[in-house]
Amino acid sequence: MDKNEVILSLQSLTMKFGGLVAVRDFSMDIRYGELVGLIGPNGAGKTTIFNMITGHYRPTAGKVIFEGRDITGLPPWQVARLGISRTFQNIRLCREMTALENVLISFHPRVRSTVFDAILPTPRYLREERKMRERGMELLSAVGLEKWANFRAGALPYGLQRRVEIARALATSPKLLLLDEPAAGMNPAEAADLMNFIRHIRETFNLTIFLIEHVMQVVMGICPRIRVIDFGVSIAEGTPEEIKNNPKVIEAYLGEEALRA
């Protein structure tokens, strides 16, 4: 894949909720293989941008172009099938199902058998189910979760739940992975661990990753390119070094934290 080709292009996205402008005129291009960070204080509109990409919100104005195709306003399940997968800020696993079953859900859209195949069951379906389970286990092993495959997802510790959620997103075979505050609620050691994990899966699965983070130190460590937004407006973009020294960012973001410290 050409490294310089754009995979996702956000063009002047605006999202209004009644009188509130959550995101204003947000534009950004992400190229194949990039690992881009999006940071900003609480309520800056980061998750809203994700929701517009994945089709959970229809932008008030602007366009989402994925691999040259306008996907603005497509329902989330179609966006997912095109190759954009995501995780959620507050982990959204199917808690009553096992870790493996959670991963298998993501394979379902590509099941070829019909309902009748599944009910009878025909050899075709049984073959597919067996292959799905094998691939599910492979995927869980690839992310180091094979031991937990048959545990109820809701019973796993927080850090592992996060990984299961990422594994489930990977199972859709995405080209672009959106991670919404993956390190939320983790202590610094766990967060560092997770960042290594993200780096690892990016290489293993050849992914483009767009990552939201609230804690700056975390994102500084792994993202070569960072975009900063505040109150729904882009205020800066650059390398971690540039961002760290950008007065606007310090004012909007670090200044606030520096005051608290």
Partner: protein, 345 residues
């Protein structure tokens, strides 16, 4: 063959023997209760697929039962009986032209199921796309009521509130338990398949399921169609068990019964729905004395109190979301055995 398979085969053989013996010898009163139990269980298995497994609160199964019941009646009622029943308004074409012999009974039941499925598409396509929770419940409830009103007024098809009598009583244990076994098998397979995983994922987190590429609407519709089919067949069996059919047979209380059954069995548990269906039919008869001794309708009060007690102290129902498996039985037996062993020591 694995031991579980062997046990299942023996269980089915035993069941077949019981059906064969029961249809010939069993006390008619008990025979009737078991038939009712199987029919309730059948409708409940379908109902728990949409309400329990998929988590979409529908209140419409009585409407689907009504459709299946009437269509099966129209197919099976002998021609001479059709002339007697439709006295004031003549029966509409094509049902005044033909009647099916006993060998066509299975076709009539399936046709009833298919009619219910078609109706489920009519109500499901708009309702499941846009509504969830309470609103979906209200829409499906309204649909059932519409069907009731239609059944009361489409004299040419239903003979209105006077109903139809003299339906050949074809339903016996062979049919009722047979249909229950076949459709329960289908339900279990469906629930445990990839499609079932998608349905359970929708129950647990619709947004997450959708984000993983699952077409939520289509899968809800799938569960809804399955439940409608079960209800349609159950309606047909019920009409041909009782021998008469009126719109009042399939009013909202029927859905209320089914709701009690699936809650008692454990929402989302197919085995729970089956077991609770039979328990319901038995307790319903056992409590008949309350109606005669106190005031008519008292039975429902007792049932409601029972349901409240279940919700208070036994919230997950008989089975929770678990299913009956042989392993589950073995574990229970082993535990009981070990318990007895340690006590004697």
């Amino acid at each position: 063959m694995r031991p579980n398979r062997i046990l299942t085969v023996f269980f089915l053989l035993g069941l077949a023997a019981f059906i064969w013996w029961g249809d010939a010898r069993l006390d008619r009163f008990i025979w009737r209760i078991i038939n009712f139990g199987a029919i309730y269980a059948l409708a409940a298995v379908g109902y728990t697929m949409i309400n329990g497994v998929t988590g979409q609160f529908s209140l419409g199964p009585h409407g689907f039962m009504l459709l299946g019941g009437y269509l099966t009646t129209l197919f099976m009622l002998p021609l001479h009986q059709k002339k007697v029943v439709w006295l004031f308004t003549p029966l509409s074409w094509p049902f005044n032209q033909f009647t099916l012999p006993y060998s066509g009974f299975i076709l009539a039941l399936i046709a009833g199921g298919i009619l219910a499925v078609l109706a489920s598409l009519i109500v499901g396509i708009p309702a499941l796309r846009a509504l969830r929770g309470d609103y979906l419940a209200i829409a499906t409830f309204g649909f059932g009521e519409i069907l009731y009103v239609l059944a009361c007024n489409f004299m040419g098809l239903t003979n209105g509130p006077m109903g139809v009598k003299g339906i050949p009583q074809y339903t016996n244990l062979k049919w009722s338990i047979g249909a229950l076994v076949v459709l329960t098998y289908a339900a279990v397979r469906l629930k445990n398949s990839s499609f079932g995983r998608a349905l359970r994922a929708i129950r647990e987190d619709e947004l997450a399921a959708e984000s993983m590429g699952i077409n939520v609407f289509r899968h809800k519709l799938l569960a809804f169609m399955f439940s409608a089919f079960c209800a349609g067949v159950a309606g047909g069996l019920m009409a041909t068990l009782i021998g008469t059919i009126t719109p009042d047979l399939f009013r909202f209380f029927m859905t209320f019964y089914l709701l009690m059954i699936i809650v008692l069995g454990g929402l989302g548990s197919i085995s729970g729905a089956v077991v609770a269906g039979f328990i319901f039919a038995a307790v319903f008869e056992a409590l008949r004395f309350v109606d005669t001794a106190v005031v008519p309708g008292m039975r429902m009060v007792v049932f409601s109190v029972l349901l409240i007690l279940v919700m208070l102290f036994f919230r997950r129902g008989l089975f929770g979301r678990e299913e009956f498996t042989w392993e589950w039985v073995f574990q229970g037996v082993r535990r009981a055995w070990r318990g007895a062993w340690t006590k004697t020591k």
